[in-house]
Amino acid sequence: MATKGVRQLDRVIIRFAGDSGDGMQLTGDRFTTETASFGNDLSTLPDFPAEIRAPAGTLPGVSAFQLHFADHDIMTPGDRPDVLVAMNPAALKANLDDLERGADIIVNTDEFTKRNLTKVGYPSNPLDDGSLEAYNVHPIALTSMTVEALKDFDISKKEAERAKNMFALGLLSWLYNRPTEGTLAFLRTKFARSPQIMEANVTAFETGWSFGETTEDFSVSYEVKPAQLAPGRYRNISGNLALSYGLVAAAQRSGLPLFLGSYPITPASDILHELSKHKRFGVRTFQAEDEIAAVGAALGAAYGGSLAVTSTSGPGLALKAETIGLGVSLELPLIVVNVQRAGPSTGMPTKTEQADLLQAMFGRNGEAPVPIVAPRSPADCFDTALEAARIATTFRVPVILLSDGYLANGSEPWRIPEVADLPDLHVQFATETNAEVDGRATFLPYVRDSATLARPWALPGTAGLEHRIGGIEKADRTGNISYDPANHDFMVRTRQAKVDAVAATIGPTEVEDPSGRARVLVLGWGSTYGPIGAACRRVRAAGKDVAQAHLRHLNPFPADLGEVLRRYDKVLVPEMNLGYGFGGQLSMLLRAKYLVDAVGYNQVRGMPFKADELAAVITTVTEDLP
């Protein structure tokens, strides 16, 4: 058999879309793993409904997985797919608007029945009525070909049909010349307990591959060469996994046992799942009765000397607020992970947003300041977790880490760090009395370190250090109950000064301005890093100057941030929030603190920004300068 020609591409965006039960996330995951092991740079965007199995064949039931891979370094999962795999009419209808004309559409014709078409409101079959003429449609009977290929297996028709996603994966793997050993090994492990199902899936996958090779519908296959990333050993990693690993690493680097108190909530639950596996690392995971108990147990563990963490999403952060305030008052280290999702209230659990910055900043009674950090990409969740642990343990304060649904489930290649190169996070517990009262050596729990303003971390079990702490206002140094006006004023100021002191331990704002001539600075935080970066590249490629900076530390800001902002004629702040009428949540903070005219660009669609849309906004801002 003659081998078909291979055409070189520098990048491809594929979107797999189907019914919630069609296995699209698994298919996308496998294609991603094949792509990662091939050495492309990549970025992924899983996009699925909150319902576990929405009614079959309906628009709300569509689950999609988008993957962008390239022979060069890329920053986003891509704006518009080059290839759409649509397993049914709903998947086609829900995703068609995102395609450029000329895009490839692979459709499973078996599902384009009258009933299914009616279900999603297609008056006629789009495969026949000419409405897809602008696209390169590949009609393939995925289901029946899979069933036919599996007819000799001792499995039900339903089980055979379920393997159609592997047929599709096999076809796409052929089309883009992906290595297949990983997927075959994966199927053998996943279905080890049912050999018939395992063989059926392997056969479906191989049949899909062979179909690509033989069908005349695909005249060539494509190749995207490995990317030239910085030298090192790489793996693919999602944000929640990187965050979990960051916490495990922080525990080892601090010499503290890790304790996670958590209550299941989308999209943060995977952190609980992951950490519960790592008992070898001494990790204790506590699935609490509610969000409040989860943070309470974590705070109790912090009091006992654990590296204590609670993980949640926005609604859970609201419930934890009072306990975080207690942590501020007790001055104990605590890491609060908020994997943000679209709100308010239940909102859209599986869709991303970054609208909890103000909640993290101000969402407690009284003045209860906490440091806030945010990762910028899935892999950066690892480093940000370590940074949260550093701040919490050094300053004895709850730290809020703001991830989001896009970072949590998205993935990218990660250069695996050397453990020895990770920061040393060892802490000093109090071991001795620190004051003399009435001629007697005594331990006072609120005597502070002069540089960090941290109070001693004195663990139960340390002889001579018995003391009482509480959420009630306490006297400076002694920690005894105090309602003294001057003391309260002093303590409120001191708790703020302690958080402010974090700024002295973080680096200056890093600004990327290749030409050095930019007059516009695009400033972001969290998961918008990729789209903003990609947009800035496009703007620069079009011959314009623009600077980009991205904040990891949102409270306190880097010490030089005000000065950096004032260097530019315009500061543009794209955020996935509206900012309550204050022009964006970060914009509001920047304006309030630095009196700069930060301009927001705000969207809350539950999806990351598209790079081309941001590029257009940036271009307009640069052109509008006087």
């Binding site: 050993r233 108190g261 790592h278 609490a288 409040i292 705070l299 306990t323 453990v419 005894n480």
Partner: protein, 353 residues
């Protein structure tokens, strides 16, 4: 006079003999004069030396309310936390530190209203905690609103025409959550309270001790029938494991099992002694203890006190520790740097040169 408590075998012992004085702090006790809390504090401070534990390995965690000031007056480690959350905080502490004796001090509002969820789940999990629930049937610190243990129709500041909700029986609630240890005592009965504390300390797992406590400002004499020498013998059922359940000055009242298996109050003279129900605190089935808890009348016309239930069942923090020990013990101790390197790399890696 320290005793051996196998339940506390993981907690370091005191180096020297202790007295009640060793457990007193320099803080002025700020409860109202005449408050029942003073008696409970004195009983606990006097009892602690019996445990013979290093003071630094004892932790008192409380919520919010009058009784929750308790930790400030105990010269151990202590945390006065937030309303209702003490069981959750103490769970995290106990689950991560096997070498501590962790006590929770709470009240009827703290434990049964705002913190009800944490209480039932602590009891269900059977975490190694001793929970002292001070029940005065009123909100004291907020100045006199009815509580979840106030009798129906209670006239208070927030219910001028009488409260509309039926009260919890905390013992029944705890048994419904399948608590492994449930007892009730009275602030003024030092001897009984001490015996109950002793039994609670000897129990491994969660122990719930309900202590009837008088609030002389907002709900004075709430438990008077149990205290008044003229009435107390007639209304107090003193439960003792292995003994027939009888009460009254001449043990003239008792209970038998009806044919429908419910408990029936009888005059002991009217039934053969062998028909009288004998208390079995160690019965695994909680129904026996639950039936006893239902003998209580909100009016206090009849009130069982003592240990209702004291059974061994798996302890949450012990199981958690066992899982970790098994994972770390079988392969020569906890994971080190090499294993972390392996974890970070996973199974699918590629190298860029």
């Amino acid at each position: 006079m320290t005793q051996n408590f196998p339940s506390l075998s993981l907690v370091p012992k005191a180096r020297e003999a202790q007295s009640a004085k060793d457990f007193k702090t320099d803080q002025e006790v700020r409860w109202c004069p005449g408050c029942g809390d003073y008696a409970v504090l004195a009983a606990v401070q006097s009892f602690m030396p019996e445990l013979g534990l290093a003071r630094e390995n004892i932790v008192f965690v409380s919520g919010i309310g009058c009784s929750s000031r308790f930790p400030y007056y105990m010269d151990t480690f202590g945390m006065h936390s937030i309303h209702g959350r003490a069981p959750a905080i103490a769970t995290g502490l106990a689950a991560s530190r096997q070498d501590l004796s962790v006590w929770v001090v709470t009240g009827d509002g703290d434990a049964l209203s705002i913190g009800g969820n944490h209480l039932i789940h602590a009891l269900r999990r059977n975490v190694n905690l001793k929970i002292l629930l001070f029940n005065n049937r009123i909100y004291g610190l907020t100045k006199g609103q009815y509580s979840p243990t106030s009798e129906l129709g209670k006239i208070t500041k927030s219910t001028p025409l009488g409260s509309l909700d039926s009260p919890f029986n905390p013992v029944s609630l705890a048994l419904g959550a399948e608590a492994s240890f449930v007892a009730r005592s009275i602030d003024s009965d030092r001897k009984h309270l001490t015996a109950v504390l002793r039994a609670a300390a000897a129990h491994r797992g969660t122990a719930l001790v309900e202590i009837y406590q008088n609030c002389n400002i907002f709900n004075d004499n709430a438990f008077e029938p149990l205290k008044d020498p003229a009435t107390r013998d007639e209304v107090t059922i003193r439960l003792e494991h292995g003994q027939p359940i009888t009460w009254g000055a001449g043990a003239e009242h008792g209970v038998v099992r009806s044919p429908d298996s419910s408990l029936k109050v009888v005059e002991t003279a009217d039934v053969p002694a062998s028909d009288l129900v004998v208390h079995d605190a160690h019965a695994m089935d909680p129904s026996h203890a639950f039936d006893l808890s239902r003998l209580a009348e909100t009016s206090l016309a009849r009130t069982p006190i003592g240990v209702f239930r004291d059974v061994d069942r798996p302890v949450y923090d012990d199981l958690m520790r066992e899982q970790i020990d098994r994972a770390t013990g079988t392969q020569g101790g906890p994971a080190g740097e090499d294993e972390l390197t392996g974890l970070l790399a996973g199974s699918d890696t590629w190298t860029v040169r």
